[in-house]
């Protein structure tokens, strides 16, 4: 196992019981991710993208094999240790944004920092900086219900990046967005990846996202069928 790998999975297997049968969601997946990567897990629904993200994000544990994230073996982490790993080093972006409806934009972003023991001033500075990155500094008082889908996802990105984690895991981040918003979001994430050297791993089957990836890992029926470095095309002339 190389020490330089930020994330390493070794023969990762995840099996879910479905009634009397078993569903193999991940089938001996071995991958490595380095710091600063902008990678995507690509494949149809049920190919194991989200399962892999969940295990890497310490939200789930493997059935066999193991994932080592920032030197921590996911399968041997207690609930507390897994929570600590997520708290400090991993940010999540979800398809449905998962913003807390009763909090305003500022509070939704701030919540990521509340467990880190920062002072009010430090938190305020970081939250405002994150909101500047996603160009929502003027909407701090707005509630999620008052924002568009694209704005909500930008808040979710700000919430994920505000603690400057080493890894951001984004599960279908553009699935609920129109093309224009999707590209805006992706441009923002590319900028953050460059600026903060944060590792981004996407689970997606959205072509718009795939155009921005520098590494494309194709999954099918829980297996890695292709792992390739690609040239990002970005929004391009005629997306």
């Amino acid at each position: 196992m190389q020490n330089s790998a930020l994330i390493k999975t070794q023969d990762l297997v995840k099996i879910y019981p479905v009634g009397w049968k078993e569903l193999v969601a991940l089938d001996h997946v071995s991958l490595e991710f380095q710091t600063g990567e902008f990678a995507g897990l690509v494949g149809p629904s049920g190919s194991g993208k989200t399962t892999l993200l969940n295990i890497v994000g310490s939200l789930d544990t493997p059935t066999k094999g193991d994932a080592v994230v920032m030197g921590k073996k996911i399968s041997s982490l207690s609930h507390k240790q897994a929570a600590a790993l997520r708290k400090k080093h991993i940010g999540f972006i979800f398809q449905t944004f998962n913003l807390l409806p009763v909090y305003n934009v500022y509070e939704n972003v701030e919540i990521s920092l509340l467990l880190l023991g920062l002072t009010h001033e430090e938190r305020k500075k970081k939250v405002m900086q994150a909101l500047e990155w996603v160009k929502l500094a003027d909407r701090v008082k707005s509630r999620p219900a008052q924002l568009s889908g694209g704005q909500c996802q930008r808040v979710a990105i700000a919430r994920a990046v505000v603690k400057e984690p080493a890894i951001i895991l984004a599960d279908e981040p553009t699935a609920n967005l129109d093309a224009e918003n999707s590209y805006n979001i992706l441009e923002t994430m590319v900028d953050l990846n460059k600026e903060l050297d944060t590792t981004f791993i996407f689970a997606t089957h959205d072509e718009k996202v795939i155009r921005y990836l520098r590494r494309k890992i194709t999954l099918f029926d829980g297996r890695v069928t292709k792992d390739e470095q690609v040239t990002p095309q970005g929004k391009g002339e005629n997306p």
């Binding site: 969940n54 507390k80 790993l85 997520r86 998962n98 807390l100 909090y103 509340l114």
Partner: protein, 390 residues
């Protein structure tokens, strides 16, 4: 601190749902404190009235005296020993002689207790000074209940019949010089008060008494042969017990009230867990431990009680103060409770009652808020994020 802040944000953000629970819970606060206050006030009034009108600082009873056995009265009298006579002379005690008798108001016959008391006594609040009135007959004072039951009014004459110390029947007319309004049934119902000297003379029980009432706050009552000192605690024991029984009976009402409020909190918590599964998952993804999330939800539930206490204070304090000043008029039927009460009950709210009730509700609310959240401990982050209901 973080959890408190988040809990408060969540609560205030939940809007109407929170305030409905808070209002219901605040109602419990106010009603429980009010009811307890009324019962405490009732107890205080009952004891105070009894002490003022009948018991003062305690009583010496003749060794044969048993207030629950009227037949014992025949033998429950005796000359006061020197130690007790000394108290009477120093105006620290007043003797009462009690004999059984019969009255014939408006031609009807009614048995009663004829009680003799010194008209000039100042030990109890009984208006015995009316017995100083000079009349051709025996001056007598009765209570308002006795007056209602017998139809006797001030200025009426009634024939009394009794047996003297030798068992010989005798009878005389008594003039009702005053009908006293009293809240204490035990100096009223079935009794007639006449001057002590007169009763001693009529019953041929010179210098004798059945009991001796001593002044309030008497220190170190003497030990006397043939006479037993009954302390105030002993004398008010029955009424305290009665109030206690009524208190526990009434507590059923506020337990039901508390249960209803707790049901609302419990329901809200259970609903929250279902509706906010995704939120729980998101918090887990952000690094909140399960214990922290359980803490957050429990604090949220418990904070209903804190907000309810504030809301209750807002309308409850003025209401309770107003009520304590105005009092609660007692219906006539309450007379049969056996309590010595005034025309109104004035609630008494002690600091212990308010703090105790607040802590009790806070404790119960916290417990009820915690119980449903234990489910979180078994919740997988991935299931929570999917909003999966288990």
């Amino acid at each position: 601190m973080t959890l408190f802040k988040l809990a408060l944000r969540n609560l205030l953000g939940a809007g109407l749902r929170t305030w409905l629970n808070v209002v219901v819970l605040s109602f419990s606060f106010v009603v429980i404190i009010w009811m307890q206050g009324v019962l405490k006030g009732m107890n205080n009034q009952a004891v105070t009235s009894l002490v003022d009108a009948e018991y003062a600082g305690g009583q010496f009873w003749h060794e044969n005296y048993d207030p629950y056995d009227p037949l014992s009265l025949q033998d429950a009298h005796g000359k006061l020993p020197d130690e007790l006579k000394d108290l009477v002379e120093k105006e620290k005690a007043t003797p009462v002689l009690i004999i059984q008798g019969t009255a014939y108001p408006e031609g009807r016959m009614t048995t009663l207790l004829i009680k003799g008391i010194d008209p000039d006594q100042k030990i109890i609040s009984l208006p015995s000074f009316f017995l100083n009135e000079k009349t051709g007959e025996i001056p007598a004072v009765i209570g308002n209940r006795m007056s209602e039951n017998t139809g006797l009014k001030a200025g009426d004459t009634v024939t009394l019949r009794w047996r003297d110390v030798n068992g010989t029947f005798d009878a005389r007319d008594a003039l009702i010089v005053q009908v006293m309004r009293t809240t204490v049934q035990s100096i009223d119902q079935g009794q007639i008060w006449i001057p002590l000297d007169k009763l001693r003379e009529l019953s041929d029980m010179e210098e004798e008494a059945t009991l001796l009432i001593v002044e309030k706050n008497i220190l170190d009552p003497p030990q006397v042969n043939g006479w037993e000192f009954k302390s105030l605690d002993f004398l008010v024991k029955d009424i305290t017990q009665l109030v206690k029984t009524k208190t526990s009976g009434s507590s059923i009402f506020y337990v039901i009230l508390l249960l209803l409020a707790m049901l609302a909190i419990f329901d809200t918590q259970v609903l929250s867990l279902f509706r906010r599964k995704k939120e729980i998952g998101t918090l887990m993804a952000m690094g909140f431990t399960r214990a922290k999330i359980i803490g957050l939800f429990t604090i949220e539930g418990a904070m209903h009680a804190v907000l309810a206490a504030l809301v209750a204070a807002l309308y409850g304090i003025p209401f309770l103060i107003w009520f304590a000043k105005t009092g609660w008029p007692i219906p006539e039927s309450m007379d049969s409770y056996g309590f010595a009460l005034g025309e109104k009950i004035f609630p008494v709210y002690g600091a212990g009652l308010v703090v105790g009730t607040t802590l009790l509700i806070l404790l119960v609310t916290t417990l009820v808020s915690y119980l449903p959240t234990r489910k979180i401990a078994k919740l997988k982050p991935t299931d929570a994020l999917r909003g999966k209901i288990s």
